[in-house]
Each structure stands twice: as structure tokens, then as C-alpha cells.
């Protein structure tokens, strides 16, 4: 037998090291991003404390006035940073998106898993997943050009009739750009995530269980409702949480249809709103005009808050999915 050349052995060691370094790159990136955002957020943390989360007013201050010295940091006169409007906007628009998307996704997944087969199933599944690949700015474009006018002229006036029962639906429809429109656009974005995952999970329900249900006299729908859906409950909740995380972090689509409100909380479902992500995108140029740089730090704290929130949601999702033990079979690429 030929002895292994030392060159081959060193090549092996070098290869292992190089790939190890590459594998650690996501960790490096993650740590650097988290640290950078945290460090940049500290001045605002010192200035605002908890009021950052509870205050409605976001004011960059009188940029053309004099600076003040508060809590050990320099800020423009009158500057105060409260992110409550954006937090409410983020949560409200993603909750609306979930409320719209989850029933629709589950129903679609049921159809895709049980009612169609073969080529048709594959083609329809591909069509639904195509939605996941469309860039968010295209969603925003469609929302701005098609959905908002439709909301303003057709859907809004229709929904106002419900306003007699539910107070949130009352009130002027406004420009069509607002909470409900953002919610619909976000819903369309997260439908493919939830649908694809739920469909995969539903296909793994053992046929024996379903046949058993039919055997005791259940109708096909009752089999789905009483046997299949409870079986995939955990994984489904995980997919929903994943979709929620995606909805909260979405920037461009919301920026284009939300109406960019500041300093007031949404009164009804049509009010213009703003999310944390869209605010960071739209207010950075204002922050840069602040000589004390406090605006930049305030946006960094907003980014920190957003990151923590989405992180928490993603962790929750992962934990829920892994509990079923079938999480491994989840198709990796869908969680885009």
C-alpha cells in the first residue's frame, strides 16, 4: 500500500480550516451586526429609557435651533424619540396580515395536499411558491398602483357598512394607503410560506389515520378538520410565526402603501400608518441632518428593537416546529 503523502494530509487540514472559517462567517456577521446596532443605539437608550417604547411623539428636534444637554448627551432642542406609533404600526399590520393570510393559506394547503394530484398539484404548488420569490418592491408597486385605488374607491366604501358593528371599520376611507392596505399586501407576501409548509406537513399525515376517519363515517372535510389539522398543529403554528417574522421585517412594500404617518396612532383600519422597518428607510436622510448625530442613534435603537422582535418571533417559530420532530422535513428554501 502506498503511504499517504504528507502533502495530502496538510491539504486536508488546510481544507478543514478554510471551510471552518467560512462556516463561522454567518456567526461573525451576526455578531458584528448586533454589536454595531447595539453600540450605536446606546446614546438614545440613555436619553429616552423606557419612554422610547411608550411615547407616541417622534421629533428630530429643531435642527436649526440650539443644542441641549440632557442625560449626558447632546440633542437638538425639543428632540424626543418615541417609537410607539411604529411599534403599533408594525404589530397591527402584521396581525392583520396574519388574520387574513392564515385561514386562506390553510385552506389552500388543504386543497393542494388532498384535492389535486400529480402534475396539477406540482404546477399549482409552483405557482403559489412563485409568490414567495417576487421582490417586495414589486408588491409595493402593485399595492400602490392597483390595490390602494381599489381600496379607496371600492373595498373601503364596502367595508364602511361593517363599521356600524365594528368601530374600527368606521370612518373616512382616506387615500387608500393605510393599515388595511399594508395588511393585505403583507398577507399576500406570507401566504406562500404558510401554504407550502402546511401542505408539506399535511402530506405527512399517515394515510392510515385518514382512512380510519373515513372508516368511522366522517366526511372528507371532517377528516381534515378533526384529524389532519390537529395533527399538524404545532408545525403550522411554527410556520405562522415564521410568516409573522417576515411580515414584521418587511420594508419596501410597506413603505410604498402605508401612507407614512407620524406622531399619531391609527384610529381605524384605513388610517395611514408606519412600521419600524419603513421608518428606518424613510427617515435616515432626516437623521443625517442632525449635527448631534442623535437622530442616527435613535434610528439605530429602532433597528435594535426590530431585530430583537423578529429574532424572538423566529426563535419561537423554530422551537415550535422542532417540537413536532418533523421540522427537519420542512423544505429549507421556502422560509425565504
Amino acid at each position: 500500500m502506498r503511504p499517504v503523502r504528507s502533502f495530502t494530509k496538510t491539504a486536508d487540514k488546510v481544507f478543514t480550516m478554510v471551510t471552518g472559517l467560512c462556516a463561522s462567517s454567518p456567526i461573525v456577521f451576526l455578531v458584528v451586526i448586533a454589536l454595531m446596532v447595539l453600540v450605536q443605539a446606546i446614546p438614545t437608550l440613555r436619553l429616552m429609557g423606557w419612554k422610547f417604547i411608550t411615547q407616541t411623539e417622534w421629533n428630530f428636534g429643531s435642527l436649526y435651533g440650539t443644542m441641549q444637554h440632557i442625560h449626558g448627551v447632546m440633542v437638538p432642542a425639543g428632540a424626543t424619540y418615541g417609537a410607539l406609533v411604529f411599534i403599533v404600526g408594525t404589530l397591527a399590520s402584521s396581525v392583520i396580515a396574519i388574520v387574513i393570510a392564515v385561514p386562506i393559506s390553510i385552506l389552500t394547503a388543504v386543497i393542494l395536499a388532498y384535492q389535486v394530484r400529480g402534475r396539477l398539484q406540482l404546477s399549482l404548488s409552483i405557482l403559489v411558491e412563485l409568490l414567495a420569490g417576487i421582490p417586495s418592491v414589486i408588491f409595493g408597486l402593485w399595492g400602490m398602483v392597483v390595490l390602494a385605488p381599489w381600496m379607496q374607491h371600492s373595498l373601503g366604501p364596502l367595508l364602511i357598512h361593517i363599521g356600524t358593528v365594528i368601530p374600527y371599520f368606521k370612518g373616512p376611507v382616506g387615500t387608500g394607503m393605510g393599515l388595511l392596505t399594508s395588511g393585505i399586501v403583507l398577507a399576500l407576501m406570507i401566504v406562500p410560506i404558510i401554504t407550502a409548509t402546511t401542505r408539506d406537513l399535511l402530506q405527512q399525515v399517515p394515510t392510515l389515520y385518514r382512512e380510519g376517519g373515513l372508516g368511522v363515517g366522517m366526511t372528507t372535510w371532517e377528516v381534515v378538520r378533526l384529524i389532519c389539522l390537529p395533527y399538524v398543529k404545532d408545525g403550522m403554528v411554527g410556520a405562522v410565526a415564521l410568516g409573522w417574522g417576515r411580515a414584521m421585517g418587511e420594508t419596501m412594500a410597506v413603505l410604498m402603501v402605508s401612507g407614512n404617518a407620524t406622531n399619531h396612532l391609527p384610529q381605524n383600519i384605513y388610517s395611514p400608518t408606519a412600521t419600524m422597518a419603513s421608518t428606518i428607510a424613510s427617515k435616515l436622510d432626516s437623521a443625517l441632518g442632525d449635527a448631534s448625530k442623535m437622530g442616527v442613534h435613535a434610528l439605530a435603537e429602532l433597528a435594535l428593537l426590530l431585530m430583537v422582535l423578529t429574532l424572538f418571533t423566529n426563535l419561537l417559530a423554530r422551537w415550535l416546529v422542532s417540537r413536532t420532530g418533523r421540522g427537519r422535513r420542512m423544505r429549507v428554501k421556502v422560509s425565504a
Binding site: 478543514t16 471551510t19 463561522s24 446596532v37 403559489v128 418592491v137 425565504a336
Partner: protein
Amino acid sequence: MKDSRRRSRKVQTYIWWGVAWLATALVLFGLIDMVGSILVKGVTSFRFSMLVTLPHGFGGGLRNAILGTFELVIISIVFSAPLGILGGIYVSEFASHRVANGIRFLTEVLSGVPSIVIGYFGYLLMVLQWGWGFSPLAAGIALTIMMLPYILRNTDSSLTQVPLAQREGAWALGMTRFQAVSRVIWRPATNGILTGVLLAVAIGMGETAPLLYTAGWSTLDPKLSLLHQPIGYLTYVIWTYIDMPYDESHALAYSAAFLLVLVVLLIQVVLRLLVNRRAFGRN
């Protein structure tokens, strides 16, 4: 009595299945409406001259944006493909169980970071602190951070699916781990790795938020310098020009959207076909 209950259950079943079909139709309608309206508006606005002219006045062409997107995607693939593929190899082949799970977990965390946060971080660190200004390199690195998790995860999962028997065979022949990977194990995983890279390219082309404050905007063709040079990209055209009250600006925005949707959809369809090639063949 039993009869009426059975009937009501039957009616309920029909109703629910109807509602389910309605939901599916709604989703498909949403997709078709969106893609359709973009395609229709795009086809009417698009001129082939837009591919080769620069933006001029309030309308013009898309050449700078196309070349810019191209350059940014190439820069980010150059960084993220080796990092992702080699990282995926490490996680599936060399790492211990705990380390592998840890890296997978943290990669998933990274992919959950909102794209605007990555863009803001890129602005703070590379554009401001390191003084690069708006630059293709800063934008490329921001895109790399977004693409990396997908390539790494796909490489990792496709390598994991290679049967153990093949590895054992390679080891039995006396190959070192490097030789085993480079000569035997990567072949069946080609599909998956390619999927990951294609997916990353599609994502990179469609991203806006990470590029807003790292790439800036330029109406000129990208030059060779990697620093201190703002660069244009397709998604910016869509976002900005649709807001202007001029028809030619809208035409430019729709054309950019049209191009983007065409290319991204093409990549996505190729992707799904690649993944489902076996399934398609079987049926």
C-alpha cells in the same frame, strides 16, 4: 333525526370544500393579478432601446440600472458562494453534531434579520465609519450577508442527503476527507448547491432595502472602481420613478418592474423544476 344531522354534515362539508377552493382561487388570482398587471403595463411601456440608453430627464433608459444590478449580484456571489458552499461543506462533513446544530441555528437567525437592518448596519459601518462612501463593495457585502444563509443551508442540506454509503466507500478507498468531498461527495449534491446559488441570485436581484444606503444611486454606467462610487440598480428605478407625476417616469418604472419580474420568475421556475425534476419524471 339522524338523517337530518347527516344531511347538515354533508352540506357543511360541501360548503367548506367550496370555501377552500375559493381561498385557493383567491391566492392564485392575487398572484395572477399582480404579475399580470406588471407584465401588461410593462409590455406597453417597454422599448428595447431602454436596454441600451441611460436615464435622461424624467425618463430614458435602464442601462445603468441593469449593469449596476449585474455588477452587484456578481460581487455578492463572488463573496457568498465560496463562503456558503465551503461553510455548508464544513457543517455537513466536518463539524461535530453540536457545532453543526449551533451553526445551523445561528444561520437561521441571520436570515431572519430584517433587510433594512442589514442595510443600516452596512451604512453605519462601511459607508460612514470606514469612509467608503456609497460603493459597489459596501452594497455587495450587504447583499452577501443576505444571500449567505440560503447558500449555506442549501449546500448543507443537500450534502446531508448524500447516502452514507458513498462516504464510506470513499473512506474505504483511503481518501482523506478533502479528497472524499472534492472527488465523490459533491456530485450528487450539485442540484442542491446550484439551487442555493440560483435562489441567492434571485434574492439579490430583487432586494432594495439593503442597497438604499449602501449603493446610493447613479444615472451613469458603473465604472470599475469598487469604492467611492454610487451605483444604480433596477429596484431603485421602480421605487423612485413611480412617484413622479410624469408618464415617461412611470414608463421607466414599469419597464424596470417588467424586466425584474421576468428574470426573477424565470430563475424561480428553473429552480423549482430543478428541485422537482425527479418528481416530474416519475409522474
